[in-house]
């Protein structure tokens, strides 16, 4: 039991790496394929989440807990990027509906 614990953790970490890499590949496929802009933004959001997971697993594997700060910063940047992209999609939709370009919509934000 006492020797098996660290080995189990090592297996878990390796399996987690593989699972997250597969998920990463699927997400990148969705990012490239689209079909709408909103799909791509969702995929980008997911990529940020996967990055946080990767950093967490890597931090457990190496015992280098300073990487946790990187994960928190990545969460913040990912959230802000998603909000900005959602705003961009929204403004584009408003402009398309009212028949003006995005540049003309600058007065209401």
């Amino acid at each position: 039991m006492t020797e098996f614990g660290p080995q189990f953790l090592e297996w878990s970490i390796n399996i987690a790496y593989v699972a997250m890499m597969i998920s990463f590949a699927l997400t990148v496929f969705r990012l490239l394929r689209g079909p709408t802009l909103a799909d791509r933004v969702v995929a980008l959001d997911m990529l940020a989440l996967l990055g946080i997971g990767f950093i967490g697993v890597f931090s457990i594997a190496t015992g280098e807990y300073a990487f946790l700060d990187v994960a928190i910063a990545l969460a913040l940047v990912g959230f802000l990027a998603t909000v900005a992209f959602a705003r961009y999609v929204y403004r584009g939709a408003l402009a398309a509906r009212s028949g003006t370009s995005i540049a003309d919509e600058g007065d209401d934000s």
Partner: protein, 140 residues
């Protein structure tokens, strides 16, 4: 024992991440994909952070991990809501088997406000943005 708990939580988190990736690939429209990415993806990353807190066995690391987890849990619904609204207004198609679209024809032509919302309610809106939109609507 700690290694067992940490390893199992890491495995569950990785499984949720994988499920989120599969859902992102396989689900039929942007709203369902967003559902997979937001819920399963957040849970996957969050469980890895919890496992990290277990593994470290240091108070400061655990505190930072839980701070990151709380941040994820607070921001994921906001991002998903904004994305869903933007996607709906930009006309992202619904799945062909969708049975109810309760927002259909509820937005006005500009897509700025929901039709049938009393103007007084909009005037006391939450942000300055709403007020300006209302003024423009009144002037029309």
């Amino acid at each position: 024992m700690i290694e067992f708990i940490g390893g199992i939580i890491v495995l569950i988190g990785a499984a949720f991440s994988l499920i989120a990736g599969i859902g992102l690939l396989r689900l039929p429209d942007v709203y369902l994909r967003m559902h997979a990415a937001t819920k399963a993806g957040t849970l996957g990353a969050g469980l890895v952070l919890i496992a990290l807190a277990f593994e470290a066995q240091q108070l400061e690391v655990a505190a930072r991990a839980f701070a990151g987890l709380l941040f994820l849990l607070f921001t994921a619904p906001i991002a998903a809501h904004l994305l869903g609204r933007a996607g709906y207004l930009s006309g992202a198609p619904l799945w062909s088997k969708t049975r109810f679209d309760e927002l259909a024809d509820k937005y006005d032509a500009d897509g700025r406000k929901l039709a049938g919302t009393p103007v007084e309610d909009l005037k006391q809106g939450v942000s300055g943005n709403n007020e300006q939109v209302t003024d423009r609507d009144l002037a029309r």
